[in-house]
Subunit: 693 residues, 2 copies
């Protein structure tokens, strides 16, 4: 058998002696050794700033860094949390491992005294790269907290908190996602029994995608169209039990299962759910905002607008917990690998060059590094916005809701778009090794790809932002007040960019103004077209549809402007950190100039920037690449990801890339299981050849 022979003593002896020889020659070090690849070490010795200080700033203070590292140390010291074999696991194995980690985490948090709303939980999540089960269980809880009465909260939340029940949030159906009003599941109230009867009337009404549903959940918050005496009252949320707590079997009338393999998230049991004549008591409709009385009277109470806050909060949450850190990781992996990997020669007599010394590689990675910082710094901005809105909304003042909604929709869309594209660039920038699962990059990319769809499909979100902006523009024209994030629409356009040299383009005022001009112009054009279509007799809906390509462009330009503006503000706030302010200013410049360089048409179109000025932008942009390249490794080191969290053969702190690829490959089932392919198909063929060689 190949495997047994491979591992035979003689071979093993060779393998060990070969390793020992390479080790002596400095090319192959044993695991656990902390010495660093010299090509990576050099990069760290020339940092223009204190990495530790920048880490503290990114963490929001040195105290947070300390807490984070303490949490990471606890998590990484427990084998039960290990993600070591993740890339070799089947969907079934990944699911089981995620459940294991989640249950262990609950125990560990209890043991350590960490609470659900304490600072540690997000660091646990970071340490585990989000590979946990029961994410939708949290949504289940939040929906009860938001939509349930005090009695309902008192009944269900304690059970959910202790994992005595596992809940899911069953909203999306096979045939319905974005358009909630189109959901087809029905809940019919029967006065005689005081029960709701839930049904899945069509295959397209089957619940499809809810996480934790496929194999775990015992309960579900199910969204269904409420019918009383034949009249439809629209969507409402109902709690129902879907599996037995005794033996986990599906409840009578419930068909439930797993939707099968996906591009990623194999650790999550996304599921399907069909209901046939499931009866639940009247108390199981979540009734904070609307209630069905025993006689069938439908009562509405207060405004349920506050529910938007849950959606908004979820979007903000995934950006800072799931999305942005994933880009930071991809940058860390690709940047470290790019100073370890050598290829071709820059000058004929030299040794092969580090690939990060090629301008094309810098062009791929360094704007992403700047983007990673730009997005990380958006956290403060969005939180401030959210907290202000939250306070007002809790006081039943919903004035800021449209802006908060539009802002988070657009920011979610632009960040997930850029992060996804960025991770793909990182993957491909690592060549063949990036394509290996062991690089970690395929995992990061495929994870990000989902974020463009979940919690609001990005095109839909950009159009929501655009709708808000069109209203803001109308307010500008009619002299109405304008929400803070859109006040720039009313400022006067200077008509021409004032830069005279390439150095002028390193002035934040210059590029901020260019972005402002672009955002205003694109929105203005789209709105004018829309108005023109309506005035010439088109139906409002049809006119809107005919403008959507341009409205999306306008919304993107708006979000891009906000990110640039916030980056500029962040740089200003670093005035007491001279060294760090300097490098962050470079990143801000790079982010802004890369955006102009990559979208020149938007700035050239109305002559705001001339062809000569584009040459200046290009020159400044390319010069910045060479400057930031020198700090590239310190800039990713500052993200301070542990090797365990990165889980990448290419991205580890010590840079022993080739050794890790080799060692990790040994663990692959392809090297541990003997394939039937040889005995069944190949052996008979080879036997024929024996006599001929």
């Amino acid at each position: 058998m190949p495997l047994s022979l491979l591992m035979a003593a003689k071979e093993k002896g060779f393998q060990q002696s070969q390793m020992a020889q390479w080790n002596r020659s400095g090319y192959f070090r044993s695991s656990g050794s902390r010495d660093v690849n010299p090509d990576l070490e050099t990069e760290r010795q020339t940092a223009s700033f204190s990495v530790e200080r920048l880490t503290a700033i990114l963490d929001g203070g040195a105290d947070n860094t300390r807490t984070r590292r303490a949490v990471e140390a606890v998590i990484h010291s427990e084998p039960g949390f290990s993600r070591e074999n993740q890339y070799f696991q089947s969907q079934n194995e990944r699911y089981e491992a995620a459940v294991r980690r989640s249950v262990y985490l609950k125990e560990k948090m209890h043991q350590m005294g960490w609470t659900e709303d304490g600072p540690e939980i997000k660091y646990c999540y970071r340490a585990l790269g989000g590979d946990l089960a029961f994410n939708v269980h949290r949504v289940f809880k939040n929906s009860i907290l938001a939509l349930g009465t005090d009695e309902q909260i008192a009944k269900w939340i304690p059970l959910a908190d202790k994992y005595h029940i596992i809940g899911t949030y069953a909203q999306t159906e096979l045939g319905h996602g974005t358009f909630l009003r189109g959901l087809e599941t029905t809940a019919i109230f029967d006065i005689s029994t005081q029960e709701f009867t839930l049904n899945t009337p069509k295959i397209s009404a089957m619940k499809w995608w809810p996480g934790d549903l496929g194999r775990s959940a015992t309960h579900a918050v199910v969204f269904a169209q409420l019918y009383i005496k034949g009249k439809c009252y629209g969507l409402h949320a109902f709690i129902l039990q879907i599996r037995s707590l005794r033996d986990h079997s599906p409840a009578p009338g419930v068909i439930v299962g797993d939707i099968g393999p996906k591009m990623n998230f194999e650790h999550i049991d996304n599921g399907y759910l069909m209901l046939q004549n499931i009866n639940i008591p009247r108390e199981n409709m979540l009734s904070r905002f609307s209630q069905v009385l025993p006689d069938g009277t439908y009562v509405k109470r207060g405004s349920d607008k506050i529910n938007y806050l849950t959606m908004i909060m979820t979007r903000i949450h995934i950006l800072w917990i799931e999305v942005i850190p994933t880009l930071l990781k991809a940058c860390t992996i690709a940047t470290r690998y790019s100073v370890v990997r050598r290829q071709s020669k820059l000058n004929p007599g030299d040794p092969e060059a580090k690939i990060l010394d090629y301008q094309t590689q810098q062009q791929k990675l360094l704007p992403l590094l700047a983007t990673a910082y730009a997005f990380h710094f958006m956290n403060a901005y969005v939180n401030e916005f959210y907290n202000k809105g939250y306070t007002e909304i809790r006081q039943e003042n919903f004035d800021s809701l449209p802006e908060l909604h539009a802002l988070t929709a657009g920011i979610k869309a632009i960040i997930t778009e850029y992060c996804t594209a960025g991770a793909e660039v990182c993957l491909r920038a690592c060549g063949g090794h990036g394509y290996s699962a062991l690089s970690g990059l395929p995992f990061l990319y495929t994870k990000l790809a989902a974020s463009c769809t979940y919690e609001g499909e990005n095109t839909v979100l950009f159009l929501q932002t655009a709708r808000f902006l069109v209203k803001c523009l109308a307010a500008v024209h009619s002299g109405q007040p304008i929400p803070p994030s859109a006040t720039y629409l009313s400022s006067v356009d200077s008509g021409k960019c004032q830069a005279r040299t390439s150095v002028d383009f390193l002035k934040p005022d210059i590029y901020a103004e260019a972005y402002r001009h672009r955002a205003t112009r694109l929105l203005g054009n789209a709105a004018t077209k829309l108005q023109g279509l309506v005035q010439s007799g088109a139906e409002q809906h049809e006119a809107w549809n005919q403008c959507t390509v341009q409205l999306v462009q306008a919304a993107k330009a708006h979000c891009h402007y906000i990110v640039v503006k916030n980056f500029i503000d962040t740089v200003e706030k670093l005035r007491n950190e001279a060294e760090i302010q300097k490098i962050v200013k470079h990143l801000c410049d790079l982010f802004a100039l890369h955006g102009i360089f990559s979208n020149t048409g938007d700035f050239l179109y109305a002559g705001y920037i001339s062809g000569d000025q584009i040459d200046m932008v290009t020159a400044s942009y390319l010069d910045l690449l060479a400057v930031i390249r020198n700090d590239a490794v310190p800039l990713v080191d500052a993200f301070d990801f542990t090797d365990e969290s990165l889980n990448s053969a290419l991205g580890s702190y010590d840079g022993h890339v080739y050794q890790r690829l080799y060692e990790w490959a040994q663990k692959s089932p392809t090297n541990k299981q003997v394939s039937q392919a040889y005995a069944r198909y190949l052996k008979p063929l080879f036997q024929s050849a024996l006599s001929k060689l």
Copy 2:
């Protein structure tokens, strides 16, 4: 147990009755029924052209279509070729299935009288979606045919042809890919024994990535630095046996294995190979172009430039066998799904609209459809180029080699870039269901992503094209002859686009000229910068590096121009097919205008196109979307992929999307295997809850 209960008689009864009910209501049809989803059927009734006729044109004649369908029928009728469970298989299972299909295919071809160079083989490959083993075995054979002497060919090829041996092509090393001269494996000639001794001197010299190496190959063509009497003669190719033909065990001194999981290509056993003091006879160096005599004399014979042809041919091959059909498939899936999926309302009173009726969805998919046609039509152009060059080169006239090399490098790079990006757009355009493995789209995307790296990393390839173009431009300036694909560089630039209305932009002369201008201008700018840097004292290599971002832009613009030009020529040749010419002309216009719309800055920069003209482009472009939308389904139907070849729950000919998603999910191991997660982790938690509910 959840599973047994799920399948219990009662549940099954419910499930069946539910299905029967849905079936009667027309929402759920049994498999095998050929009736088509009415939303898809409607689209086919309004085709503006004969789908069958367009299929014949795409196939290069109705005879080819007949042959293709006959081959597909044979392949799909054999269960041994099935790819039905592909998305549920582990890496080990996929490998075994690929070996099985390859061995069956060899038998089937023999049985049918199909030959290795006959027309059927490419249709077999198409029917099987390329999921076969031994792809690198073919490269092994080709390298012997190209580099071997007649005796070497006579010895090895018959064995390889019959699969009596399986070969691999071991070139790439852990630390070396693109830069071949940097390979570190050594082959030292020993006069006393008349043998070469091969070694892997460092871990970075380990062969890494070769396909068919990990678990299958018995032999390898290994590239190594040849040393004779201490002098290095550079890279040469050696044949060596790496596994026993008797029991498949690794040969003494050989460490070989699989490199583990990847983003895709799990059916291929990409492998690693370490050599320690492997001795092979002198005859095992492939010696058509260079030979080592018994006394150690090194003899070079003729020019080995002809080897470039192998590389060029491989690139052309993968484009038409692997890459372009994959984009065609992705378009088929996403387009069909987009007329079956309904979401939100275009007009308040209407039912939910087909998502393809939204302008934003058209903007995502229809330019890709145009791109798919553009690339498919490049086949004729590239083949003509290749055949001309091939004839000359066989006659030892190498004049056309640089052009052939530059052209295929750039075309490979632009096509793989666009196809990869396109498949990603298709995936995301299908929302959550696109992300399900069962859509087939993750598989198609991840497959394409690899093509940007293998057979030449795209940035490197674009720079090779750019180097050729810079030389062409110098030839223009010095009045030297210019290769045909670059003659346009010498034509006079009109300075301003002549279009006066949006309809003018539907004239091929107008947009071809715009692309020509852009390509010439970008190349000119990059070359001027390069010259300026050298003149101001920069080293040639450093100057080149500082221009590479712009040189890549120039190479892309050149390739883009060639594709547009060829599309225009193709439309002209369809003059006897009025209906088809009309729709293909629309696609050509769309491809060209989408390129301008997406890169406005390149055309605005020097004032060639004005802002007002960009508005005309935009108007024409958006109008075209609405026109082509009406033929979108017939246009993908014309690709004529079988359901088996598409292997997509979203893309089947009959459009029963939701039914297939549900039925396929049932086959997932997540629904067949009971997870330990329940018994180990969840059950203990739920027991605690029982008393409280």
